[in-house]
């Protein structure tokens, strides 16, 4: 693998192609459009299908349909399109359709600032569709992550027969980094046959609550059983977290804010304050055990987020120590500024 300069969204495209993706339906939207552009260019060359749909509702529907027909399918969007896709996401969750959904987050709500980054869709990614359902959300923090977490998203989608959201943001999607990635066309091998709860039986797919044979039911015992089984599938899910640094101040961070946290931890270390970073690569199912375990050794837990404070509430829920959320909007703050805030808390 040789070094090259590649954009985050381009790395996601390569990751998808190398994960065997052969179907993309989407509607271009800043700052995710480069993913659609790349898939439009490359999918036909790899025997796949690219469709530009009339909107994001149609896009997610086409992706779920393709997935049910056996395709390795994905779509990519940003905030406004992600909102339109929510109903489809619930449908993908209850029908256990293995699909990958990219959300390259931009400043919201509504049309917001199309070119400004944000992490404002974190909880929407988890809870955006109505009803109870489990979902997997991955959060890339670099161009390298955009490649590897995309590949991982497809593997998880098939292993757990579930929709997987890759929650990126404008910074990670648009920036270019020097990186050594597997070349385009180096296809990953993994089991692409989804094993859902009605697998092996006569297949009927519905968004209605269904029994093991896939047919609708209003029986409340069956309803509870379905929900419990849907959630229980993720008992085997291994959270993807990485700890770096020292005990002391603990930054819990994901996406582009991880880069800010890491830089800030180094600045703190230079000032003689020991600090570490827990990087959440899988944001949901929320890595409760890991966050609890690492926070036990921490004097202070800091959660920097490009939103009004979302994942910090999950962190507060599982930590016993003091938790400080730091919010900023439309761009990262300088590490020097975050360090100043942290020092004010010590």
């Amino acid at each position: 693998m040789e070094m090259e300069l590649i954009q985050g969204n381009e790395a996601a495209v390569r990751g998808a192609i190398n994960a065997g993706c052969n179907f993309f339906a989407g509607y271009p939207i800043t700052p995710s459009s480069e993913i659609a552009h790349g898939m439009a260019e490359l999918l036909p060359k790899f025997g796949g299908v690219f469709i530009q749909m009339e909107d994001e509702i149609a896009s997610i529907s086409a992706v779920i349909g393709a997935s049910m027909a056996g395709a390795v399918a994905m779509t990519a969007t940003s905030g406004p399109g992600f909102s339109l896709m929510q109903e489809g996401m619930g449908y993908a969750a209850i029908t256990e359709s293995p699909v990958v959904i990219f959300n390259v987050m931009r400043a919201g709500p509504s049309t917001g600032i199309p070119t400004a980054p944000s992490q404002g869709d974190a909880m929407q990614a988890r809870y955006g569709s109505h009803g109870d359902y489990p979902i997997v959300v991955l959060a890339p923090a670099s161009v390298k992550d955009m490649y590897y977490l995309t590949v991982e998203a497809f593997k998880i989608a098939f292993r757990f027969s579930t929709p997987v959201i890759v929650l990126s943001d404008e910074i990670v999607g648009h920036m270019r980094e020097s990186v050594a990635l597997p070349p385009l066309g180096e296809i990953e091998s993994y089991e692409k046959r989804a094993k859902n709860l009605i697998d092996g039986r006569r297949r009927h797919r519905t968004g209605l609550v269904h029994t093991e044979n896939g047919l609708p039911t209003t029986d409340l015992e069956e309803y509870e059983k379905l929900l419990r089984l849907l959630f229980a599938k993720f008992d085997d899910f291994r959270p993807m977290v990485r700890f770096e640094g020292e005990e002391g101040v603990l930054f819990v961070a994901y996406g582009s804010s991880y880069r800010l946290a890491k830089s800030s931890a180094k600045l703190l270390a230079e000032k003689g304050v020991s600090a570490g970073i827990l990087k959440l690569e899988s944001l949901f199912p929320f890595p409760e055990d890991a966050v609890r375990r690492y926070s036990k050794k921490a004097d202070l837990v800091v959660v920097p987020e490009m939103n009004a404070g979302q994942v910090v509430k999950e962190v507060e829920r599982v930590c016993c120590c003091r938790v400080k959320g730091v919010s900023y909007f439309g761009s990262l703050i300088l590490p020097e500024k975050l360090v100043e805030i942290v020092e004010g808390e010590l």
């Binding site: 300069l5 070119t115 270019r176």
Partner: protein, 187 residues
């Protein structure tokens, strides 16, 4: 070159600022450096000043934004007015003396040279990248490889780059104001 260099290239729409940034960033990547490149997008890019930022480092780059500017290359007066206030005494300011009224820095007639040599201002960006390459101590061969790979009219662009590289090489101390030329107004 120091362990980390922060470069901002700025100009106005149509001057090839983003392309210039990409070429330089990729050349550093080929040299084995860690590189992060970002740029202005959308309305910000269309409405006047546009910019490409490059961080080059021997170490892993954590924070992806510029925390200071070591080299500011400005190709247009509007960009100079927007970004000059953000520099400090340590920043090397390099500007297109054909188009920029600068108070401080090192001026080169990039646009005039492009018009003289190629009959169009289109190659001013590669002439500027040539000059910057010489000052940064980056291997010119690496940049030429990228130009050949990424750019249309590669032959002219390489020629433009070499002209700029010679301009830059003649200057050893970038902080000295070499010459200030009357601004050239594009018709």
């Amino acid at each position: 070159m120091p362990r980390e260099v922060n470069i901002r290239i700025a100009g106005t729409g149509g001057q090839g600022v983003i392309k210039a940034g990409l070429v330089l960033a990729e050349a550093f990547a080929l040299e084995g450096k860690n590189v992060v490149q970002t740029q202005s997008y959308g309305p910000e890019a269309r409405g006047g000043a546009s910019r490409a930022d490059i961080i080059v480092s021997d170490d892993e780059i954590d924070f992806p934004g510029l925390r200071r500017v070591d080299y500011l290359l400005v190709l247009h007066d509007s960009a100079y007015r927007k970004y000059y206030p953000q520099v400090d005494g340590e920043t090397h300011v390099i500007y297109d003396s054909s188009l920029v009224n600068a108070r401080r820095g090192l001026g080169f007639p990039f646009t005039e040279t492009s018009i003289r040599e190629f009959g169009t201002p289109l190659f001013a960006n590669m002439i500027a990248i040539g000059a910057l390459t010489a000052m940064l101590g980056l291997q010119p061969e690496k940049v030429e490889v990228v130009i050949q790979k990424r750019m249309r009219k590669a032959e002219e662009n390489v020629k433009a780059f070499r002209i700029g590289f010679e301009m830059g090489r003649r200057v050893t101390k970038p902080k000295v104001v070499s010459h200030v030329v009357k601004p050239y107004i594009l018709s």
